[in-house]
Amino acid sequence: MTDVMLEVRAVRKSFGHVEVLRGIDLTVPAGNVACIIGPSGSGKSTLLRSVNALESVDAGEIRLGGELIGCTERGTGLVALPEKQTAAQRARMGMVFQRFNLFPHLTALENVMAGPVRVQRRPKDEVRREASDLLDRVGLADRVEYYPAHLSGGQQQRVAIARALAMKPELMLFDEPTSALDPELVGEVLDVMRELARDGMTMLVVTHEMGFAREIADTVTFMDEGVIVEHGTPAEVIDSPRHERTREFCARI
């Protein structure tokens, strides 16, 4: 039996009066790549941010390697964790954003070093070596001293992936990592992600790259209006969807 890396149970989340996540269940075994697809506003980003505890959920449980994220048992109920402990849990997951969100005042290398140095408080020399290796791995060995403003979108996103990997995460979260990129730059980012998947990284990926999902994903989940409509292998969900809404969505992509 494979270990479960991420378990999401009955998660609910509202912004004001709008319930954006309406009871989400999702299990990602260790080493798996799970893709999430769905129309705009269906709650994909909110789910990813909730997993990373960037948003606090209203009900339900999220477990990383069996450990509750963002809250803890108290009596029969759950109570939110102090910010420090939640932050420590965030450090165990890597997050890659649609808009890269690199720190503009730091070079590529400094961006990658930021987490290990400032959060894990590890010695700089050691971190610098690892960071250079990571940038090498994403094909940017010759761009270490560049500032984000002087990198292309694809290069920035690869730096962002290296920055997340520098924390040695147990789980990587990708929120539409290629949708802010010019078409010709999408491939280089997907290549890096493909490599990661091959190395056995557990990944939760929100994407509209159907080719990538078909090739790499172990499971595909279709979300709409805050619920999971359909979940299965790429072949099942993308190629022969059972639900009308999934069929419509896949036809449009």
């Binding site: 941010r49 990373n52 960037l54 910010e83 420090k84 932050a87 420590a88 965030r90 450090a91 997951m93 890597g94 997050m95 954003f97 808009r99 890269f100 969100n101 690199l102 720190f103 503009p104 005042h105 930021a114 987490g115 400032r118 959060v119 894990q120 984000p148 403003a149 002087h150 990198l151 292309s152 979108g153 290069q155 920035q156 962002a160 920055r163 997340a164 924390m167 802010a180 990129l181 010019d182």
Partner: protein, 297 residues
Amino acid sequence: MTARTVESVEPHAPPAGRRIARRPNRWNLLGVAAVAYVVLQVASVVTTNENFAWPMIGRYLFAPPILHGIGLTIWLTVVVMLIGVLLGVPLAIMRISGNPLVSGAAWCYVWVFRGTPLLIQVIFWFNISALFPVIHLSIPFGPSLALGSANSLITPLTAAVIALALNEAAYMAETIRGGLLGVDQGQRDAARALGMTGSGVLRMIMPQAMRMIIPPTANNTITTLKNTALVSVIGIADLLHSAQIIYAQNYQTIPLLIVAALWYLALTSLLGIGQNRLERHFGKGARPMAARGRDGR
């Protein structure tokens, strides 16, 4: 040889379009005439009217009391800006903290200190002893420690510093808050996703916020420099009051006011040059994020 071949390949100049002459603008001419008239008029008045007493202005421009006053004005500006920034940072952080009570308190502070005339605040702090004859260090409804009489603790200079600095803190709080809010939310997300907490996130976004904070702060400094003139009402020998002391004795009111004004103008011009430099320096990296994602390698 080669040059000639090139010429022979392109024997004709590209066809030139006929130039279109601009039509003179009647209003422009009128404007120039009006400005010329005003400038000449002012120049003739300033040079011929004996009451301007230019030799007098020259005599007092570098008079020791005036120079001493300039020193005090500059000292006040520096001290007030320092305290203003030191108080403004926590106020700004309070304003953007999610806690309604904490941010409400900061809002209230800014509301009071920006919403009342600075002149009233200066006179108020100068007369604080009427409100609290003795100054205590205490906890609400608890024991207290008397520090001394307000009259001895709050000298005019202390009152001036308190009044100007508390007022400046309100403006700095808004400036700093604007800078912090101006940083893309994605930066906060990225820092938090790496496991940073409040202070770590702040340290990450502060350098970016500075880009938006520094230029208006330079502007605030110019305003503060001019505002220090208000402390002349509580008898502090700043630049303006030093001039006033002199004209109270020799009745050369206008020449001495001009002396003070010239010095204020010189100081604000200097600060203005500094501000321009800062704006150019910090404006460089301020291109929008969207443009960055795609501008090639």
